[in-house]
């Protein structure tokens, strides 16, 4: 049982780190501000969830788990608001988004 939880934690943390690195690479590979916003929103939601969930598995049922949940709750509440505010202000300051349709589906 202990081994199972440990390995599950490791998988969660590894996946979370991978998503974080994806976001980190994403803000270099993507061409303009508005597309970079999407890369950072990947790291904000899923990466935070996976890492905090991995930690919560180690903590077991205690006050620490609840606090981890609260950290996640605040991150998820605040990060979309911050991205929306960033995008809106950028558009208002005459930042033109790069548009183009390469993957015609």
């Amino acid at each position: 049982m202990n081994l199972l939880i440990d390995s599950l934690t490791m998988v969660c943390l590894a996946l979370g780190c991978f998503l974080g690195l994806t976001g980190g690479i994403g803000i270099y590979r993507l061409p303009d501000f508005f597309t970079r916003l999407h890369a950072s929103s990947v790291t904000d939601s899923a990466c935070a969830f996976l890492i905090l969930f991995g930690l919560a598995l180690q903590a077991g049922w205690s006050l620490v788990t609840i606090k981890l949940g609260l950290v996640f709750f605040f991150l998820v509440l605040s990060s979309p608001t911050a991205s929306h505010a960033l995008a809106k202000t950028a558009l208002n300051s005459n930042q033109q988004p790069l548009l183009g349709r390469e993957d015609k589906r």
């Binding site: 994806t22 508005f34 597309t35 999407h38 899923a46 609260l70 979309p80 995008a87 558009l91 349709r101």
Partner: protein, 157 residues
């Protein structure tokens, strides 16, 4: 009004219980005092109403969050694949959507759901018109299908 005050007070009490970890008489006294002060300030600010404490949503919102979490996971995979793919097949798009929700709260919920999903960001809200920037044309098409819009509408009733 009374309903909202009771709801806010119990939510604050629960929040205190989660954060504190010290359960002695004096600490409970402090908790009561701070909750009373917060309630008084909230009442003075006139934010104790349906819009600030959407009690009527409490029932179905968990079901919706579960569905939203699935959507976010799917969108995450898609965006990750596109970031790592060597030729970076993205197609940034701006689209306009009409939100069919009746209340401002519903529109807010819809816009926030769009933003929290990777690959789509709600840029501007004016009345019931939403401007959305999408990383790919397929993500924009999924939004235009209106599945999320319908689900938020059902939440409102």
């Amino acid at each position: 009004m009374i309903k909202h005050i009771v709801y806010l007070a119990s939510a604050l009490g629960l929040f205190w219980l989660m954060l504190s970890g010290h359960y002695t008489g004096f600490m409970f006294g402090c908790a009561t005092a701070s909750i009373a002060l917060t309630l008084f300030i909230a009442w003075r600010m006139d934010v104790v109403d349906d819009e600030a404490e959407p009690i009527h949503l409490t029932g179905q919102i968990f079901h919706y969050w579960l569905w939203l979490a699935m959507e976010v996971a799917k969108a995450n995979l898609d965006v990750c694949r596109r970031i790592w793919s060597p030729k970076l097949d993205i197609s940034p798009t701006m689209i306009c959507l009409t939100a069919n929700q009746k209340t401002p709260l519903g529109v807010m919920l819809y816009a926030n759901s769009i933003t929290v999903t990777p690959g789509t960001v709600c840029v501007n809200v004016e009345g019931d018109k939403l401007e959305v920037h999408a990383l790919t044309w397929s993500a924009a098409e999924d939004l235009l299908d209106g599945e999320m819009d319908r689900r938020v509408c059902r939440l409102e009733i």
